[in-house]
Symmetry: D2
Subunit: 345 residues, 4 copies
């Protein structure tokens, strides 16, 4: 930790800072500059409260040296986390990138969902996604089928051999979700619902955390740290676009650079959702490819057997024909990446 003093801080204020650090059992060194004094704290700063120091009189600002996350960082855990499912599918590291597809929300028409699942299986996808509890910005929009939706998903998963992903919105629903799904998704708007994250740390099923629309990469990693530090190491991260100043052509800014950045600083798998990231059907293919060549461990995108009559997000969903065409193109790229990865192993 580096503590920069105000240019007009007094000797007494400086003394108070070094005393404060000494009282916490840590060492500090003072560097006297021409204009400013700087105090360097040596040692593991994770338990030293930067806010308390910043609150001391005469302190201009406090710069942390160490990152506040530990378990999800490559510093402490250099090998990639690879999550393996009961059917042998693996996510992370140098494994073949996976595809997670399905409708925004599970609807009453089970046959429609089954059509989607069969097309997904046919195209080599590994996961069926679908919302049973829907977080909708407006209270007047469709709110989801709840348990019935989970049953449908699980059934379509069993019939096709696909793994199933669905969102959990409340701590009370965790055990219900665990009965039906293979991956519990934390939605972007719940990324900092810390009660939920802690509770998910106490289960064993993999958790996929979507980056919040205004969350920094550090905040995303800290959300994962909540789950891991509470006992569940099986976390997948998901980039799905952040809020930007230009939403005329794309709902969010899909931050592709988050993929190589997270692969450098963390060992967790990171996938990308180009459907929510852009809100436009025609951007799924180019942005999906961009994510894959940048190193994404998988993609999640929306398909619907009848997008014109979808209960939500129709404009960003592919219909089955579009889905097959886009996925064919993505699979070609995935094949090449997998080939290169195997040669790099």
């Amino acid at each position: 930790m580096i503590i920069v003093m105000e240019h007009n801080a007094t000797k007494e204020q400086l003394q108070r800072v070094t005393d404060f650090i000494a009282n916490k059992g840590m060492k500090s060194y003072i560097h006297q500059g021409d204009l400013l004094n700087v105090v360097a704290v040596i040692g593991d700063e994770i338990n030293l409260n930067a806010e308390s120091i910043a609150a001391l009189e005469g302190v201009a600002n406090v710069k942390k040296i160490q990152e506040p996350y530990k378990l999800v960082s490559r510093v402490a855990h250099p090998e990639d986390t690879v999550i393996e499912f009961s059917n042998g599918v693996k996510v992370g590291g140098l494994e073949k990138p996976v595809l997670m597809v399905g409708p925004c929300s599970v609807e009453k028409d089970y046959e429609g969902l089954l059509k989607v699942a069969k097309a997904a299986k046919e195209m080599g996808c590994q996961f069926l996604r679908g919302g049973a509890f829907k977080p909708r910005t407006s209270p007047y929009d469709f709110q989801g089928l709840e348990e019935k939706g989970l049953q449908y998903l699980a059934k379509a998963g069993r019939e096709t051999g696909l793994l199933v992903v669905s969102e959990v919105m409340d701590t009370m629903d965790i055990s219900l979700l665990c009965q039906y799904v293979d991956v519990l998704q934390v939605g972007a708007r719940n990324m900092q619902n810390f009660k939920l994250l802690k509770a998910l740390g106490r289960i064993k099923k993999p958790v996929m955390i979507k980056r919040g629309p205004a969350a920094t990469i550090k905040e995303l990693l800290l959300a994962a740290e909540y789950v891991v530090s509470n006992g569940n190491p099986n976390v997948i991260l998901c980039e799905r676009g952040v809020k930007g100043f230009d939403s005329q052509f794309s709902r969010n800014v899909l931050d592709i650079a988050a993929v190589p950045i997270i692969r450098k600083i963390s060992h967790l798998p990171i996938i990308v959702d180009p459907s929510h990231g852009t809100g436009k059907r025609y951007l799924i293919e180019p942005m999906g490819k961009a994510a894959l060549v940048a190193g994404a461990h998988g993609l999640m995108y929306e398909i619907h057997h009848d997008p014109d009559n979808a209960m939500c997000d129709g404009a960003q969903s592919l219909n089955l024909d579009q889905f097959k065409e886009v996925t064919k193109s993505l699979n070609k790229l995935i094949g090449r990446i997998d080939y290169d990865n195997k040669n790099n192993k």
Copy 2:
């Protein structure tokens, strides 16, 4: 609703759009432009799914005319909502702006909290705030006293005659909070926790919703609409800063303009939190004053009897002496605003 067709949309695609609208029992008119065709839908569009229409082939974009919120809008409810508490304190409309103060989190030292409450009462504040369940970005930070914290708050409130505000983080905790507090606060990170918002619509106690760090004003109003449409009209909004690109000198960008904007389009009370909005102690006074002259119905800011040893947010908390000085200055302004309001009533 206005539907703009692609410049190369076919006649059949246009027909399909107007059929779709007719099937929903609504009327539409086609305006043929030189370059583009535009379809105007007439009538109450709140139940017409814009996404389904945007998903139709040949549609370039869909512009909604009506706002998606109803109950919180001045269009349907022109008079200000004024929330009245059992002790006669009123929030909203042309009532005297209120002050909500207290520590970021309630800590073990009850005497410290009581000192804060007494100082608050002495300076004419109406509410004591304090976190019992703390949403912390890092799992290694202090997580709050939970029920014991609520007991302390309620006790300090009773001893001083202050109303009590505290954050609810989970639907499971709502009934617990209701036993101890006068206002249940929804934190910025939970602003779109829709399960929580719905559940808060089923209680009668006032709910204060903090604007999320990347939430638009429309999204904030829709969050309030969740509570109101589920049966609880007692909602207070709170601006507390949004994420910006420059966090060197201020943690967030305090969006003061949200105050006059919300007062124009909604009847709900809107208060401002300059502590979280800036993260700097020295900015509480100027930004608090700015919020008040812009029309805020109240301010919420952080004070601590011993900020150097606070468990959270010390750097943005005022100590008791600073608190008295700042509040004296704010009270002078509040007095003038109250005088002007009374003459305008």
Copy 3:
């Protein structure tokens, strides 16, 4: 300067960093942490290229301690800069806040401009503003009257005794502007036109720099540093809103906190433009008041004798009746602030 090494940096890489610093004639100290090594550089770092150091192998990141601006900082120049004009008007420090008003662009109708100027004088404003060279986002919008516009402005200024402000868009136009105006304004879109800033450093007339829509406070101060370091100390800063993610109700986010922040770290005057900052006529009064109580040295806002037929920005311009009403309310507040300032001097 603090140099944080990668956690797996080698001894040789560390040596290379300290050698690099020694070669520049500066001293450094190495702090060995449990996880990371940190190198502290002591002395005036303004001439040490952080980028070169960040480029060395094994360096994780470089944190500058000193701010990169010198002349505009309070560290080196603690007293407020107060700019005094030939007619005795003063801007900055604890002087009475000033008002700069006028149309977005000067138009062909001189009588209209004169009406505006007379109303401005009558209401106690000190400056007449108007664009002669208009930076318009679209090439199809009105581009300004150029020299004729400057002549009109100067004439209206002379007839009413108002000082005149207009925007300079190109180094080639500086000498022309100097013949007609009292303050040369650098527009937000030109804030980092460094050729222009340098050239403005070589004149003596005051320069007003508007903050760019994505400029940090540091970048704004560095733009001012360009002018001051080239010889012209007469710089006024202007906050006019930054780009945000929500432009539904307000074109930009007016960053009121920039006022008290800049007053703390710099000695230069800072004014606020609530017209461009919001784009809405009804927000000029509340946001103007907010800026004043937060410490702004003045306001700039747009008025037009016939906004319905304005060539630009009609929607954010006040007509003459609205102008008088708003300005009456602002003057009341200015009177109180001036009274308080005089008692604080």
Copy 4:
């Protein structure tokens, strides 16, 4: 154009709006909704001033249907613009993506620049880039070699057969640049320097416009429209990252989606600069690949023969060995894209 009236607008206000439109020689239709009235204007709205209408009493907001750019839009010009250089190199459409590389700034050491140029040629790059006039945020940073830098660039270009790109910062320098370079670059900070854009419309050499750090895609296209509407159709666009709220790991957010979006709505070539877009050397390769698969017509990135001693942007420059390795990987991908494009022609 769609004009939405306030919910409480009067009949007279509505009449005034339709009269205003009729006076401009255009037709309008009124749609009476349950809550709001809407006026639709039919015809080419490009010359109708939305601001004047928005300024009328009773108008809630104005939604433009037509985009404000014409010449750069695919609506009016469906075929791709392909810019061909004297040596046969082509940029745009389905041509093979190009590589533009070189140092951030041209420095005194000509031999160093030549080394870079030779390596670029060897790796199949088409353009040598380098700054002679440097726009630096701080006045204390290196400001460029000016004409000598241009001479060096041109000489290195001739010796290797590379085309040359350099930035123009001021209208006064255009003719000088034209003597030495093949493409005149407009820097991100000058993207809305409209005097410069207009002047560049009067030359014939290709102009490359970099997207400003807070510029929307519409604003970028309007900047290009300035050049094209003044007579120069040879414009290349360049995405180089926009300001975001998280700059801890990447200086800007590289908006890869801008590539497929711009290719859909405009016929102009669009390239990507992953060096400035991220500020990190290790991100050039993954982000360069992402840009290429998303459809970029080329990449621009920084290399330096001795990054540790570069005068600017060392941390984001590749040294010659890194350059060769990265470019080998990019060339492999370019080869595949070129193969696919040829089969799609």
